[in-house]
């Protein structure tokens, strides 16, 4: 049987972290009484007009720059038409023709064969980033055959990040999305928490034989976590391969991932190909961005977005942070990945290093093995750790000064987890874990043991 080449592309919607919505002044907030965060514009009442939120544009520019994109100094808004109860206007304002950023790239890393020690770097091309509106939320009530609509989310700003089909499996897709998530969180342009719908991923999957043209692709939606993303993609690849090997065909359809069953199923409401009747948004002039060279002299600076100014203020991206950690502390690259993968862990590590004489290369073991495994076992975040960086540094100092053995240190740590407020030194004294340094005392003990042996 000829080998199959799976092809995976991703469309990611990231909710912009802002106080108010993309085109209106109503508040952006996750949980709130239904329809309480809705302005007249969001409800699409006649006579309302969109007014662009500056913060949303800045967020998109930051993200574009972080993903090595070209920022389009002139981008346009369009209407994408379709009917759905949670889209009151009957269209979504998006950027279909000329989006704000294009042609970028994202580098991410994978472990080969599940061994942390062998990491490989891959790149996925970013086709574009566009600004668009989010829709409201539909709650389906099947018993009463109705849908309840909450427009709180309608109009919230989204950045759609389109990744080219450069990935080949669930693991790659998951790693790429994880890295994007870390970048967005570092920039602050999106909090990117998938569980709160701030990061939504749709996967485009197809398979073909090497040398042949790409196969028909399906779109997979309803993926609610990075873990499920890997599962959904891998399942769909398998499903398509099996279908084709059994002589079947792949339909160009939209499928939903069922996390309980671990499979994808056709989505009922998406019949045939949609015709979105794209047209320019007549109420919005082109969005013009400037850089240091093109900055107009006499404009009100609140009305001007300077790409170079934003570029200069970008924080260190995760990849740069990792390099710095490796360089500064002599830890391994895979260590830096784990440090950044856990919120607050890198800071914790650096704080311990600052407060102890123990070399960072030794400290890292305590952080990644002892601290992290304990936190994982008890489902705690770094913030919730009963052992502070101060306490851990204190303990490691005792070890470094050879006042206790490594085994004793682990015992003390186990006691510290209880969070009873005792210091490491107090625990050492309580449990008599001090290493005996006194030559005479040691001789006495050894002699006593030898004497006992002779008496038996």
């Amino acid at each position: 049987l000829a080998p199959w080449v799976p092809v995976v592309g991703l469309e990611i919607h990231a909710q912009i972290s802002s106080n108010s919505k993309l085109f209106s002044g109503s508040q952006v907030q996750f949980a709130a009484p239904p329809n309480s965060l809705v302005s007249f514009f969001d409800a699409s009442l006649p006579g309302t007009l969109p007014v662009l939120n500056r913060r949303c544009v800045e967020a998109a520019v930051m993200t574009g720059l972080a993903l090595n994109c070209s920022i389009n100094k002139k981008s346009l808004f369009d209407r994408k038409h379709y009917f759905y109860a949670d889209l009151p206007a009957g269209y979504q304002i998006t950027q279909q023709r000329v989006p704000i950023a294009v042609n970028g790239s994202l580098s991410y890393s994978l472990c080969i064969d599940n061994k942390m020690s062998q990491m490989v770097t891959k790149t996925v091309r970013i086709k574009q980033i566009q600004l668009e509106q989010d829709s409201g939320k539909s709650l389906h009530d099947d018993t009463r055959s109705q849908t309840l609509v909450d427009l709180n989310r309608a109009g919230v700003g989204l950045m759609e990040v389109v990744m080219e089909p450069d990935m080949c499996c669930g693991e790659e897709a998951a790693a790429a999305v994880r890295e994007l998530q870390l970048i967005l969180q570092t920039l602050g342009s999106s909090q990117a928490v998938m569980a709160e719908g701030q990061l939504r991923v749709d996967a485009n999957v197809s398979v073909h034989h090497p040398g042949e043209p790409y196969g028909v692709r399906t779109e997979v939606k309803n993926i609610n976590s990075i873990r499920f993303l890997a599962k959904a993609v891998d399942y769909e690849i398998q499903r398509q391969i099996e279908e084709l090997e059994n002589g079947g065909t792949i339909l160009n359809e939209t499928r939903a991932f069922d996390s309980k069953l671990g499979c994808t199923v056709p989505m009922r409401d998406k019949e045939g190909k949609q015709d979105y009747r794209f047209m320019p948004e007549p109420n919005l002039p082109p969005l013009i961005l400037y850089d240091a060279k093109s900055l107009p002299a006499n404009m009100n600076h609140q009305q001007v977005i300077n790409i170079d100014w934003i570029h200069e203020r970008l924080p260190d991206l995760p990849s740069v942070k990792r390099e710095k950690l490796v360089e500064q502390y002599g830890i391994l690259p895979e260590h830096s990945f784990t440090l950044l993968n856990e919120e607050g862990l890198a800071e914790f590590f650096e704080n311990v290093v600052k407060q102890t004489q123990m070399k960072p290369k030794k400290v890292i073991g305590w952080i990644l093995q002892d601290l992290l495994s304990y936190l994982k076992q008890h489902s705690l975040t770094v913030k919730e750790s009963p052992v502070s960086s101060f306490l851990l540094a204190d303990l490691l100092n005792l070890l470094e000064k050879k006042e206790i053995s490594s085994t004793a240190a682990k015992q003390v740590l186990a006691e510290l987890w209880k969070g009873e407020g005792k210091t490491p030194l107090e625990i050492v004294k309580e449990q008599k874990l001090q290493l005996l340094q006194d030559q005479k005392e040691l001789e006495q003990i050894c002699q006593a043991v030898i004497d006992r042996q002779e008496n038996e």
């Binding site: 239904p34 302005s39 007249f40 500056r54 709650l139 015709d275």
Partner: protein, 108 residues
């Protein structure tokens, strides 16, 4: 140049309108013919203009919360509501296919 029944059916599906009668379809055909005159202009090498606003400045608003909190007003016009939610039918109800619905286009 006539607009085909397939295109008319497609438009009815997309826009949820119906052309009602021969006069409605003729009006559409005349509108398409009128717009087709645009094709006579040579626009080679000219960038399309899609808005008379293209020279205007796009106003940027500060990211402040200035509206919302008017649930009662918004729900006033809703025919049906359930605990401050709008009520809608369960998902889209697509137009039945050409052969199965009452439409003027059937006879065409």
């Amino acid at each position: 140049q006539r607009v085909s029944v397939e295109v008319l059916d497609h438009l009815e599906h997309l826009a949820l309108v119906d052309f009602r009668d021969a006069e409605g379809v003729q009006r559409l055909q005349k509108a398409v013919q009128f717009a087709d005159q645009l094709q006579e202009v040579n626009t080679d090498g000219i960038e399309p203009m899609d808005s008379v606003l293209e020279d205007r400045c796009l106003y940027l608003r500060e990211d402040d919360v200035t509206e919302g909190n008017c649930t009662k007003e918004l729900l006033e016009n809703a025919r049906e509501k359930v605990e401050e939610y709008f009520v809608a039918p369960p998902g889209n109800i697509p137009l039945p296919k050409l052969g199965e619905r009452e439409t003027f286009l059937q006879g065409s």
